[in-house]
Symmetry: C3
């Protein structure tokens, strides 16, 4: 708000970077949705970290793999798909190989009869790093979307 | 149809423009979905216009803000998320700072228990303008998707 | 897996190609969702092929149009929308005018009251070709997503 209007507020996202990041997630989500646990873990750095909605924290591929294996039974009869939208990409101004992202996530679960159920919606914030030309996830924080208390003026508050 | 096949029917959308427009919407939707009403209004030009599904018309940021404030009670216990897809971008051939867009919209409402409900689907048509390097919405027309009467041949009509 | 980590596993997708393919699908889906059957068929090559989930195969625009006309009655009172995500684009290394793609698909059906129903989720694999500067679909294979048998280690198998 305090910056002059002519100053871009955010670093520009090139089309090439946009395509690169979208393609990274397209591959990563195919792995998790096909229950390719090791393949999914390989899209993280060795000591990558995931903070799940609710606060559970997994650090390192081994812990990630163990956690996902433990959850496998719940996917026995459903096909899960993670849908993303509204990807924001913020390259680190000091290091083009570090990229902060955030995106909406909707998770469908289709059972054998074709019936689709939905998990609550989530917003995810990642830090990606480019190593040897490939993107990897360094960290991921998943938050379940919850109702917000809107910032309203005093008239609205007193009227409520 | 009447143009030769070698003539592109539409102006080419560069990757950079695609990323710019997607990023604009990713930020704009975060504002509306977090009930940041003033922040959302700031993504429109001062006298921007929205025509809602059903025909209600809002003109100018002040009217937009008042309308959104009046609607706040219905979001007290839900997290709303707008999901976009199939974005079409048509830069004005005469003015690269005027861009017509259209996109599909699906709106989820997640309650405190995590249950997801869906509003009807919509198709939105915007005119965006670039001012001081930043995109802003000049106008928006929102239409609820409704069944179409397919254009069928005479055999199909008489058989129906 | 056997390649050194420094070798990209996949050809790079430029931002321009990403935008071109997304724009192609945005137009193609508007045609199918508006029940513009001939217009939809025109986005395929003359002898294009579609393999539907379940195995039904349509070859050529005429067969495609006949099949879609036969299905029209089921869309009499619903607005259908195809939502895509996680688009993968793989240009043919030997021919830049041949592009393999794959994407997630979610199909909504909104009735006249605004109620939204969902078809099972699908994954689609296309081959696109560029002719006279325009993309066309050469072939499409649609698969309904189904539960997968995860590849688990021996401990997990014996414990199951």
């Amino acid at each position: 708000m305090s910056r002059p209007a002519s100053t871009p507020r955010h670093p520009v996202v090139t089309g090439d970077l946009y395509a690169e990041v979208r393609t990274f997630y397209a591959r990563q989500m195919r792995r998790v949705d096909s229950l390719d646990i090791e393949g999914f873990a390989d899209t993280f750095v060795e000591d990558g970290e995931v903070v799940h909605a609710g606060g559970r924290r997994q650090r390192g591929r081994a812990e990630m793999i163990a956690g996902m294996r433990a959850a496998l039974p719940r996917y026995r009869d459903i096909a899960v798909r993670h849908w993303f939208d509204h990807l924001l990409i913020e390259p680190d101004p000091a290091d083009p190989d570090v990229i902060r992202t955030s995106y909406y996530t909707l998770v469908t679960q289709t059972d054998r009869s074709g019936k689709v159920c939905f998990q609550p919606t989530f917003t995810v914030a990642d830090v990606l790093v480019r190593r040897d030309g490939r993107l990897l996830t360094l960290s991921r924080v998943i938050e379940q979307d919850s109702p917000v208390e809107p910032a309203v003026g005093s008239e609205e508050r007193s009227a409520a």
